[in-house]
């Protein structure tokens, strides 16, 4: 057993050193000498578990289990862009190394057909295969396979319940890893069979240090204030932050510097001045003015959900209205948000919200 563990460890170390991860190899020059461009989000995806930023508890547990070359069934949940998919991909790479990775890991996400029939056939079949404890080169490796069910919250209830028994019966040869944004959408019997890990929203300093590192490596000139703007617009979502950064650096070309306005523009954030103007319109108690202002919002192409998001921060901080009024407005916001998610018309919903705000600021004080 000791030898096995040791071997397992060596193998993981080795895989760390010489694993030509597909994403990084894509950055190399292809045969015809053309430089292939890889999106930064793939290029800087953590290659091993230790690289995953900020999720210390999860990483500690995973590292322990990697040392033991064993994993429980896992359930990762948390907001987008916090490293859930990256973590499990890195962990399974470390476990199996690049060659075995293909045979041992089945990755299913919402883009694959994932109804009950697939769970019954594809997943079950894959789970039933037994896995050897040695690699082709004679080195030992963990004797199980991993099935990654990404975006599991979009699986139907039926498909989830079909998983239940499979998970238990095949526990000898297969580990499941479910990834989702909302743990509440996963049925209870599944959650109780998994070790649950919550991924935290990334803290700003971690994000900014990563972004700076990327900027250094890519040779992008960027000021600290611009990084702050990126942080502010990305709301703790690493992928969004990196995406924004890359888009900005592409937009301004090789030698241009990135400005704050550009970041705001790319991320679709509504400028503070515009928001001020809207709120001032509300206090004027003129329905016609308001109507015009909302029409303008729609015409400018701002997303209502974005407006709602930013407006919420403003309303909370407003000083000239009482707490009770704020709560009335916030309640309306919640209703409007739900309606928007259901696909209701933006103009009408915004009108409803803003007329509430107008009534509260002008008549109730």
């Amino acid at each position: 057993m000791q030898a096995f563990l040791k071997g397992g460890k060596v193998s993981t170390d080795k895989s760390k050193v010489d694993s030509p991860v597909p994403s990084s190899s894509a950055a190399k020059k292809s045969k015809d000498g053309k430089l292939k461009i890889v999106p930064w989000i793939e290029k800087y995806r953590p290659k091993n578990v230790e690289d995953v930023a900020y999720q210390d508890e999860v990483i500690a547990v995973l590292k322990k289990s990697l040392e033991g070359s064993d994993l429980p069934n896992l359930l990762f949940y948390g907001p987008p862009g916090t490293g859930k998919t990256s973590t499990i991909l890195a962990a399974s790479r470390q476990l199996f190394g690049p060659e075995l990775y293909r045979d041992r890991v089945l990755e299913l996400n919402a883009s694959d057909e994932r109804g009950i029939s697939v769970i019954r056939e594809k997943v079950k079949k894959f789970a039933q295969l037994t896995a050897g404890g040695t690699r082709s080169d004679g080195k030992p490796c963990p004797p199980f396979k991993i099935i990654i069910l990404d975006e599991a919250d979009s699986m139907t209830k039926d498909a989830q319940s079909a998983l239940r028994r499979t998970m238990e019966r095949e526990s000898k040869t297969t580990r499941f890893c479910l990834i989702c944004n909302y743990v509440t959408r996963i049925i209870e019997p599944i959650t109780s069979r998994c070790a649950k890990f919550r991924f935290k929203m990334l803290a700003e300093d971690i994000l900014s240090s990563r972004l700076k590192k990327i900027c250094d490596e890519e040779g992008v000139l960027i000021e600290d204030t611009v990084i702050d703007a990126v942080l502010k617009t990305s709301e703790g979502d690493m992928r969004k932050a990196i995406m924004t950064l890359q888009s900005a650096s592409r937009l301004c070309g090789k030698d241009g510097t990135i400005s704050r306005e550009m970041i705001y523009n790319i991320s679709g954030v509504i400028s503070e001045d515009y928001l001020d103007k809207l709120i001032r319109k509300c206090s004027r108690d003129s329905y016609e003015d308001l109507d015009k202002a909302i029409q303008d919002v729609i015409m400018e192409g701002f997303a209502a959900s974005q407006l709602l998001n930013q407006l919420h921060d403003r309303i909370i901080m407003m000083e000239n209205i009482s707490d009770k009024q704020k709560s009335i407005i916030c309640e309306k916001m919640a209703e409007v948000d739900k309606a928007l998610m259901d696909g209701a018309d933006e103009y009408l919903q915004l009108m409803a919200l803003f007329s509430t705000i107008m009534y509260q600021t002008c008549h109730e004080s």
Binding site: K34, I266, S355
Partner: protein
């Protein structure tokens, strides 16, 4: 002979008439020979599609304009056959997945996989990726949007996706965070009128400035509509007569009459008449949310201050239900009935106050 809208559609980024900064940015973006997934959003008639086509042309050269229409077939797991028409060139494929209703997920899964899994043969002369343009993304079901998520990352090396929609509210955050968002705002009245005048000049016609402004205002900052209206005016009468009313679509007039009827009298009998008219509009394929907005706009004109707020709240409420429900007529009628009740109460209170 083609319509002015198509005839004078700009074909290259340099020729776009407004949002020059954005065009410059797009140009820089494409110059590198590569770009991220794009999410183009803005109101209709703002030039989203035009910008997408210009970008593609910049990227691949004039070859993208050789379009062909193809029918694609897909089979659902329950063995139902779906057919969807796609517009494609050698370099890109354009599809509107919401055409197939709630089965759009299948289309997204299959189509993008088909396109993305084929590598270009000769990468020295061609770009090593193709472009998939998906229109009306905001009408995609949640499942279809989820299906897009990982696909977008997975096939990044062979395929770029350009999403086109009116509003990003209905696009899930996971997709938004994977794309570079491009907001295309509607052109201002001044910009539209300027374009109208230039187009007319190219046609060899003279368009008075006041007339251009009038058309632009009538169009609701929708350039396509403005051009169509302008052409319609030209067909009706030339040289342009400034005093002449710009003709509106029949259904708008019909809708306004309906609103007047509601405001005139509030009784069950009138409700029945209004219902017949609403049915008439629906059978002519006027979308229910447009009917609702049209009614609201005209009805608000007869209300004052506080009443307006109340009516707007109900309109928002019933429109939300309309989106969730099956049959539009119930909700439209409910709105009309509710309005009648509110308005009648208001009138009676007004009378009571007098005595």
């Amino acid at each position: 002979m083609s319509l002015w809208v198509d005839k004078y559609r700009p074909v290259s980024l340099a020729k776009l008439d407004y949002h020059k900064d954005q065009s410059a940015h797009l140009k820089k973006l494409v110059e590198g020979g590569d770009f991220p997934h794009l999410l183009v959003y803005g109101p209709s008639g703002a030039g989203k599609k035009t910008r997408i086509m210009c970008t593609l042309r910049e990227l691949y050269g004039p070859g993208v304009e050789k379009l062909r229409i193809e029918q694609c077939q897909f089979t659902t797991p329950s063995n139902k056959k779906l057919e969807i028409s796609t517009i494609s060139s050698n370099y890109h494929i354009e599809v509107n997945p919401s055409d197939v209703g709630h089965n759009d997920r299948i289309v997204i899964q299959e189509l993008i996989k088909n396109v993305a899994q084929v590598n270009q043969l000769d990468t020295t002369q061609q770009k090593n990726f193709k472009v998939v343009v998906l229109t009306e993304v905001d009408r995609l079901t949640k499942e279809a949007q989820h299906a897009l998520r990982r696909t977008m990352e997975k096939y990044m090396s062979t395929c770029r996706i350009i999403l086109c929609c009116n509003s990003t509210s209905k696009v899930i955050p996971a997709i938004r965070s994977r794309c570079l968002g491009l907001r295309v705002a509607a052109p201002s009245i001044a910009e539209i009128s300027q374009i109208l005048i230039t187009v007319c000049k190219k046609e060899g016609l003279t368009l008075p400035h006041e007339m251009a402004v009038k058309v632009a205002e009538k169009s609701g900052r929708n350039l396509r509509r403005a051009l169509l209206m302008c052409e319609a005016c030209r067909v009706q009468q030339y040289p342009f007569n400034i005093d002449k009313e710009i003709s509106e679509p029949d259904w708008e007039i019909y809708l306004r009459e309906t609103a007047t009827m509601i405001a005139q009298q509030q009784s069950p009998k009138r409700l029945l008449e209004v219902r017949a008219r609403l049915y008439e509009l629906l059978t002519h394929c006027i979308p229910p949310d447009i009917i609702m907005k049209g009614l609201l706009k005209d009805l608000l004109a007869v209300c004052d201050g506080q009443l307006k707020a109340e009516v707007v709240q109900c309109a928002a409420f019933y429109e939300h239900r309309l989106q969730q429900g099956q049959k539009a007529i119930y909700h439209l009628e409910a709105f009309v009935a509710k309005f009648m009740a509110i308005y009648k109460r208001f009138l009676e209170e007004g009378i009571a106050d007098i005595f």
